[in-house]
């Protein structure tokens, strides 16, 4: 009986978010319909601005990947530098 009531409560709790979500509709904000003037741009600025104008999905994927790559690169380089100056980290004791 106890097991059965636990299963029933679990199912009821699972349904709570779905019920709340179903109550209201969500408005989607408008996109920025802007085109960048490429005339005075060169190099990377031109490259990214061109993709921004042509295909925002490609631009978005490039931005996300670039952020990840730059973040990872800095993490690795900083780790090496900190190790050199004796500030490397290892597992710590969790003292409150």
């Amino acid at each position: 009986m106890k097991r059965f009531s636990v299963i029933i409560i679990n199912f009821l709790l699972l349904g709570v978010p779905a019920l709340v979500c179903a109550a209201e509709g969500l408005e989607i904000p408008d996109e920025l319909n802007k085109k960048i003037n490429l005339a005075n741009l060169s190099g990377f600025s031109h490259f990214f601005a061109k993709w921004y104008n042509d295909n925002l999905w490609v631009y978005a994927i490039m931005v996300t990947l670039l952020m990840g790559i730059v973040g990872l690169t800095i993490a690795v380089v900083a780790d090496v530098i900190l190790k050199m100056i004796g500030m490397e980290v290892s597992k710590i004791e969790h003292l409150e």
Binding site: V6, I9, N10, L13, P17, V20, C21, A23, E24, G25, L26, E27, P29, E31, L32, K34, I36, N37, L41, F44, S45, H46, F48, A49, Y52, L56, W57, Y59, A60, I61, M62, V63, T64, L66, M67, G68, V70, G71, L72, I74, A75, A78, D79, L82, G86, M87, V89, S90, K91, I92, H94, L95, E96
Partner: protein, 345 residues
């Protein structure tokens, strides 16, 4: 300062690169130390220096993604990331954010969204800050009371009564945090923190981090690392979705990321030298200052509110850097003393 002026093609304006790196740096230090994304600092800071608001949130989320990779990687090395708890937090938060966003839409239709959200924000920030300060101030008293209870139980030859908690199955064990808790308690907490972040329009790190400590029962350092793990995913999604809408200024994001990555290294390393309660105290002060900033905004002191949050962030960075330096010096001195003892037989 002229030499640092660069042209940002997406936003179509000149901006000082040094300011972007400096904002990134200060948010990086705080993010690595407190485990928060820092949107509540970045957006007003960028706005105060004239960065277009249309790009501020997207650019902030983009740099947040890169920064949280740096900080999470380092926290993982220190054993501060509970991936299982982090994944559960993401699932709960996503649903909560959706519900929160729908509630805001409903309030917008009623025409009361602005003041309601701001008042909830103020109550939350002040309530959280004051509670954390109270918790810090009474920690010794509570520890003494607990020790006395254990001593009495030991004399009587019985085990002290366990803390009461809601144990509705299924129970989930989190080995990294060392806790076993009902799946529903964890999901409920993350649903609520997600709802708050959706309702207030913030990343939610500053709500999740104390929730992990006070409600779930995580050690402070693990709460910080696990929260950053969640920020990594929300940052990645935020970066992609805002970039698709054309709202990410890529060059500004990279400059901020460079500053933030260095800052995050400092912030995370400082966690090694400051005990859990020290982190909670500094976090409480920062949350209270953010609350004052929201109050100023509510009473239309917009630039005062922006400068307040920026100065608070810079001041907090300075405190964290000083604490890191002191801890590092102390560790070096201890190492030297230990080495001298080893040499002297």
């Amino acid at each position: 300062m002229e030499i640092f002026q660069i042209y940002l093609p997406i936003a179509g304006m000149q901006f000082n690169a040094l300011i972007l790196v400096a904002i990134g740096f200060s948010v990086g230090v705080m993010g690595g130390f407190f485990g928060v994304g820092g949107a509540w600092v970045v957006t007003p800071a960028l706005n105060a220096f004239g960065f277009p608001m249309a790009y501020a949130i997207g650019t902030d989320l983009a740099h947040m993604f890169g920064k949280s990779i740096v900080a999470t990687a380092k926290h993982r090395k220190m054993g501060n990331v509970d991936a299982k708890l982090g994944i559960l937090s993401i699932m709960g938060s996503v649903i909560g954010v959706e519900i929160g966003a729908r509630n805001v839409m409903w309030l917008t239709k009623l025409g009361i969204a602005g003041p309601v959200v701001r008042y909830v924000y103020m109550v939350l920030l002040f309530g959280l800050g004051i509670y954390m300060l109270y918790d810090y101030a009474t920690k010794d008293k509570r520890a003494a009371a607990q020790a006395a209870k254990v001593a009495v139980a030991a004399r009587a030859g019985v085990t002290p009564p366990a803390k009461k908690s809601w144990n509705l199955p299924p129970m989930v064990h989190f080995p990294t945090s060392g806790i076993t808790i009902s799946f529903w308690s964890v999901t409920g907490v993350f649903l609520f923190t997600g709802w708050l972040s959706g309702f207030l329009g913030v990343g939610g790190g500053f709500i999740r981090m104390p929730a992990l400590i006070y409600i779930i029962g995580c050690p402070t350092a693990i709460a910080v690392g696990t929260d950053l793990f969640s920020v990594l995913f929300t940052g990645a999604y935020g970066c992609l979705t805002y970039a698709v809408k054309g709202r990410v200024e890529i060059f500004a994001a990279i400059l901020m990321l460079c500053g933030a990555s260095i800052g995050a290294q400092i912030g995370v390393t400082a966690v090694k030298y400051i005990r859990g309660y020290g982190i909670r105290l500094l976090f409480a002060i920062m949350v209270l200052l953010a609350g004052i900033s929201v109050c100023l905004k509510q009473f239309n002191y917009i630039s005062g509110s922006q400068w307040m949050v920026m100065c608070a962030a810079l001041g907090m960075c300075l405190v964290i850097i000083i604490k890191l330096y002191q801890g590092f010096k102390k560790e070096q001195a201890e190492k030297a003393r230990y080495a001298a003892k080893e040499v002297k037989p």
